[in-house]
Amino acid sequence: MNDSQRFTKTTFTQKKESREKWVKVLLFMVTLMMALPVILLVSFLVHKALPVLSLNFITDIPRDLMSAGGIWPAVLGTIYLVVLSLLVAAPVGVMAGIYLNEYAKDNWLTRIINLAVINLAGVPSIVHALFGLGAFVMFAGLGESVIAASLTLAVMTMPVVITSTREALSAVPMSFREASWNMGVSRWQTIRGVVLPNSISGILTGVILEVSRAAGETAPIMITGAAASITFRQGETVYYLLGEKFMALSYHLYYTSMGWKVPDKLPNPETGEMVPMTQAALEYAQAIPYGTAVVLLGVVLLFNSVSIAFRYYLRTHRKW
């Protein structure tokens, strides 16, 4: 005789267990319902972008009133933004993280700083844009430019660096520091010689996240210097001066999907006569916003995946 024959489940238990089963299925469906639409939407984007997706799309300049060619000036603008904002946000953010984890005592000032970091992360991006416009474009006299937009992005993305630096530093065991202090080493030397080398990869994951964030933001740059289109000639090297307006991937996506319409007719290169676009050219032109969206998404997800992979590597290769 086995157990199930000896003990019959009461109706109460049966009800309880069947409810458990249903809840489990329901919650699984709910979870699936969150992830599935997004995956479908993104694959739809990629599908619509197929006519333009090629390496040439990334490295070519826009041609024929932006209805042909690629998006290189926008890609380059995004690279400018990312690098310049990183140059400011990474050092200040990392040092702020070091201060909060290594120097700050548990007092009112630290509490205020913590609150400020949380709020800085929660300030809407358009308010950061207004700040950039007021502080960098107008007050500092930088004008609508790459540098003003990058500084705005730097302020906006700094909390990402601060938070992940703190996390990385606090993962280093206290005993490491104590051992170093007991040898008569000063506080900063301990940080430089012991704490930072043991947490540098954790700090880097935060920096990579900052890059992904800076590349994707649109609102802060749209009123601090992003331009809808800048004309470059064929064969000309594309570059921006720090005080100039610029194109960027995120703003390009906004512009090509909201303000811009595919032109009906294009001037013939030889005669200058206006001729209607061919079907293939039209299809290509209509796919350009989708292509831009896919490139932007690709860049952002790539950086995030690198950051995640890095974190997994760290977790499995911990030294303590």
């Binding site: 992830a35 953010g93 702020a96 700083i113 400020a116 994707g216 906004y254 995640i308």
Partner: protein, 304 residues
């Protein structure tokens, strides 16, 4: 043997430590600077005679390019909150359900995968969400019979998808923070997992879950590009129509979208420019309060 460190070394170390301290308080400086600069650019209008703050908050007439202009942001504020609240109504059940599933019901492998997926979803830029709202979901809305594809509901759906990752991850942290001994005590009494979740975990993590919803709300209210592209940005009042309570299929304006859309057409320092900065001050204050409340809910008013 040299025991004393050189003067230069001591000096440079002092310098580095001071730089670190200054960087440490930079976050505070930035938060104040943001408020001051945004307020400063808008203050001229705020204190001028032909402008009243009550008109800004209660009048429904937003016509900044007309002469004389009228700056009534009531519809814009209503639009902001109705989009945000509808988005939260859609997303909260899914997000909390998802958080409970990830935290309690799935195996460790699936858990890791889902967490990575959620993290990647959180990384999708808002302009891409806006693009999806503009070109994909709005088309389906129209096919299903809505007059305008881009509408309050369309924007709310996009915002719901967008705010889901942040709510899930904070809720999951909150559920994780409930001590395992609570779970063990409940299981030891012979309850099922769902009973444990329902009777022990949800009450235990209620502050954290509330904070997650608040932070999601703050995110949604402050979101710019997605609403700008997905709600159509037309000056309508979602409450004054034939629909019983709230007309979901009407296109609305939000504060963020209004600032983003109209700032490019203003004259620097002009009245229209200033009123947009005042909207910015309002937006900053709202999100500041929401974030502060969420923080206090998590950590308690006095942390001991």
């Amino acid at each position: 043997m040299q025991l004393q460190r050189s003067k230069w070394k001591a000096f440079s170390e002092g310098l580095i430590e001071w730089t670190i301290r200054v960087s440490g308080i930079s976050a505070v400086v930035f938060v104040f600077a943001i408020f001051i600069f945004v307020f400063w650019e808008g203050k001229g209008l705020l204190f001028s005679d032909d402008f009243s703050i009550s008109e800004l908050l209660t009048s429904e007439k937003w016509d900044p390019t007309h002469t004389p202009p009228s700056y009534g942001a009531a519809r814009i504020i209503l639009g902001t909150f109705s989009v945000a609240i509808v988005a939260m109504i859609i997303t909260v059940p899914f997000s909390l359900g998802g958080a409970v599933f990830i935290s309690e019901f799935c195996g460790p492998r699936l858990k890791e995968i889902l967490k990575v997926v959620i993290e990647l979803l959180a990384a999708i830029p808002s302009v891409v969400w806006g693009f999806i709202g503009l070109k994909i979901t709005s088309v389906y809305m129209k096919e299903l019979g809505a007059d305008a594809g881009v509408s309050l509901l369309n924007g709310a759906i996009i915002l719901a998808l967008m705010s889901m990752p942040i709510i899930v991850s904070i809720s999951e942290d909150a559920l994780n923070a409930v001590p395992d001994s609570y779970r063990e005590a409940a299981i030891g009494l012979g309850v099922t997992k769902w009973q444990m979740v329902y009777r022990v975990l949800l009450p235990g993590a209620k502050n954290g879950l509330l904070a997650a919803v608040l932070l999601g709300m703050g995110r949604v209210v402050g979101e710019t590009m997605a609403v700008l592209m997905a709600t159509g940005n037309a000056d309508n009042n979602p409450f004054s129509s034939d629909a019983p309570f709230l007309d979901l299929l009407v296109s609305v304006k939000t504060m963020t979208a209004t600032i983003a859309k109209e700032m490019g057409d203003t004259v620097n320092g002009g009245d229209h420019y200033q009123v947009l900065f005042l909207l910015g001050v309002l937006l900053f204050s709202i999100t500041f309060i929401v974030n502060l409340t969420a923080h206090l809910v998590i950590h308690g008013v006095k942390r001991k």
